[in-house]
Symmetry: C2
Subunit: 479 residues, 2 copies
């Protein structure tokens, strides 16, 4: 590896944590103080080490299980890691005490540093960096959420999911990290380590990336990046990480208006905008355009083995919908080619129901979810020379029609159907677009996801994710 | 009007209907017969006229409230309208009897006509057309669902919504009509008349379009079209209708693979593919690319007055998300310009909370949903010379964070927020992307929709719909 890869494993396994900041409940804003917020988050994740709060004002007005000390120097045992929730100007002096205490790492949640319009912010950040460097403390941030690692109990928000998984993430934005964790979890994914790194004063994005690239618990890497001071090092790390694992990158601030926003968000120079897409391509990383696409693509890498190409067999119950969906597929650079002659012959021998068309796209028409159809159909498609993958559109309005016509539940139909899909060799994806009441759509989507079948809300979303999956040479799903 | 516009009002107000087809429950397929299906649908919609079933086999095995006759000629009173659910070959002879009975219109649900591969299908369709022409019967279809008109009790599916509304639709595909009705209803819309017209043997798409253009109950027209025999007449009607009302067109079969699918779906020649986009543009109709976009755009026309241009004030609580959303906006040809100096001055006088940036996009940061912010903020934006409309991103993960931090419910926050939006003069749209559990997202989306604020699942969807809305010269929402 070109960069010198730090072993950051210790960062994700601190033996003890102190959360630093006021614990006073602000009667005016009616808001729970941040120090309590982080403490509750760690407690909710079941952090197994020693946990305490450091607050100048001493004892909290909100009762908690953690002891509150007036100074970090008063904490009896060692403190490996601290989380700063103080005002920016309080960070340097307290950081000095942390160094004396032997603290090894500090997340600075506080904002008001180089990202702010206040010129003092930049000085405060430089001062914190100087103290940390001298004291041997690695700084994460400032202006970030810090570390999320369900496996070791690290957390920055009480309601984040506590299941570990194979997806790692670096995110310059805490909001993007939170959104991705929640939305990814809705899609059935779990996370190994997520680092919200904000202003990137000390710990660099490329360092975390190098670590995730080697971390055995991480098999897929997501990145949200607004800018960086060392583009060359980041490019090197992206290239090296992409060689080892799929890397999906969402770049913020690629347009003038977005870049202006990034400037006031993390103080990043989001510039060199035309260079980023080329750099990511050269690095072998996959560029995604928004947070939805980030999650959809991550889910696809998690569950789907690589389709050999862009030729799909497109199946739906509704003839009108399937014409439009075939159009959308072609517009995205996919093909919905005719099935091979051998496939058509095979199918016509076993299935000859009027109204059902075995041209591709396949309009299931009146066949619906007939058990006797699916086994021979999927068997024939598995052998079809023109099919790289199968895309099934679940038309919820038809599913509900089936409930009425056949007096069986949609849930049972879907479960039976998943049984057939399980035997399909070729990559199989499902799209369940909005239709009748969202609740029923959601139940079906979740049933497919539970079976680890990539399931999308929209054809657009499915195709963008599939394009990235197909572009990646790795054959197997990361799981 | 260039075409001779038929008054089709009688078609949507038949005094009596006979559903024609077998009522025998098929023990093998376990399926409710189509004739029962349509009868139940009409009953569910509260069709107020006389309703009966005509079935060669006589009395139904499924008990119903409607009388079953062996022949249409046995029905005691007059029959204005019939719905054919028989096999294709049975249509011509029974249609002959319908003519004798004085039937005025017939929906032919049956398939197996010109859309099928069977050469006999084309002959059967010609034969039906000849009999209908001679007998003074207008044919809808074959191979269609027919008429949906909640106001007069017409219906083709038992679970379709029974609320009337201002949206009319012509659809060559029954599936597309059903999907649009369901999804549109989820978005809070209602429908005046929907005609699924299938093979278009007699009643032409342009005739229905001419009618909807003049129908006072219809203020917005949607069209799903795969092909037509008389492109010139359809173009004329689209132009005329677009002059009177917004017309949104989804063309099926614009790509080679989609066109092949359309061929086997409605037997349409979907060809002349490059001509369609130009024709629609010249007609002043809005082209949409998929069924989601059709519904999103229809909702936007229903609720939103026209933004004066493409310059948005973009607001969100999350800095990281807003950078990406600004990028997406610019990529779609919108602008997120800096607020006018006067606006920034006005805002800095009333609001000076650290961390909140009043550059555009507006990162609400720690201000969240503070009552004291919104009145002066929206007042300033209403006067802002650089803002054509306001787009608000609701980050559900932050909303849930608020519940925790401030101990108030998301529902209450949203309702208070809607109170502030009500006073905003400029067009206002909301995007609520997937995040935490879909159920909570859905509750928020529905609360906004209930207040008739255009609410989208994705930024992409919002921007595509807004682009169409801005392109349309009409100022007011169709309601």
């Amino acid at each position: 590896m070109a960069n010198d890869p730090p072993d950051l494993d210790w960062l994700f396994h601190p033996r003890s944590i102190a959360v630093i900041g006021s614990t006073r409940f602000d009667k005016k804003t009616q808001r729970i103080p941040h120090a309590i917020y982080f403490t509750v988050a760690l407690r909710a994740m079941g952090y197994p080490g020693a946990l305490c709060i450091v607050s100048r004002s001493g004892a909290s007005e909100i009762s908690g299980e953690e002891k509150v000390y007036a100074s970090i120097l008063d904490v009896p045992g060692p403190v490996d890691h601290v989380i700063f929730c103080t005002p920016a100007r309080a960070v340097p002096p307290i950081l000095q005490e942390c160094a004396a205490k032997g603290v090894r790492s500090a997340v600075i949640f506080s904002s008001g540093f180089s990202e702010s319009e206040d010129p003092q912010g930049r000085d405060l950040e430089a001062e914190a960096l100087r103290i940390a460097g001298k004291g041997g403390i690695r700084l994460i941030g400032p202006n970030c959420m810090g570390l999320y690692c369900p496996e070791s109990g690290l957390n920055f928000r009480a309601d984040l999911p506590n299941n570990p998984g194979a997806t790692g993430m670096i995110s310059q934005s805490g909001g993007m990290a939170i959104r991705t964790i929640f939305h990814g979890t809705e899609k059935g994914m779990g996370f190994s380590k997520v680092v919200s790194y904000g202003n990137e004063s000390d710990l660099q994005s490329w360092e975390i990336l190098d670590y995730l690239a080697r971390d055995e618990k991480t098999r897929l890497i997501l990145a949200y990046i607004e800018g960086t001071r060392d583009g060359r090092a980041l490019a090197r790390s992206l290239r090296e990480a992409s060689r080892r694992k799929p890397v999906l990158v969402l770049k913020g601030g690629l347009t003038p208006d977005g870049s202006r926003a990034a400037g006031s968000h993390t103080g990043s120079m989001a510039g060199n905008d035309r260079l980023w897409p080329a750099m990511l391509r050269q690095a072998g990383a996959h560029r995604v355009l928004d947070v939805n696409e980030l999650v959809d693509t991550a889910m696809t890498f998690s569950y789907l083995k690589r389709p050999a190409g862009r030729r799909m067999t497109l199946m739906c119950i509704s003839g009108g919908l399937i014409v439009n969906y075939a159009d959308v597929a072609v517009r995205h650079g996919f093909e919905v080619p005719e099935l091979a002659p051998a496939t058509r012959t095979a199918l016509s021998e076993v299935i000859n129901t009027p109204g059902t068309s075995f041209a591709n796209p396949i309009d299931m028409a009146s066949l619906f979810f007939s058990d006797r159809i699916y086994a021979p159909l999927f068997e024939a498609l598995d052998r079809d020379a023109n099919t790289d993958f199968i895309l099934f559109i679940v038309a919820m309005e038809y599913m509900r029609g089936l409930e009425f016509q056949y007096k069986i539940s949609v849930q049972r139909i879907v479960e039976a159907f998943i049984g057939f899909i399980a035997r399909v060799e070729k990559p199989f994806v499902v799209v369940v677009p909005p239709s009748v009441e969202e609740e029923s759509r959601l139940a079906v989507e979740r049933t497919f996801l539970k079976a680890r079948i990539p399931t999308f809300l929209s054809m657009d979303g499915a195709l963008r994710a599939l394009a990235a999956r197909i572009d990646d040479p790795r054959r197997e799903a990361v799981g």
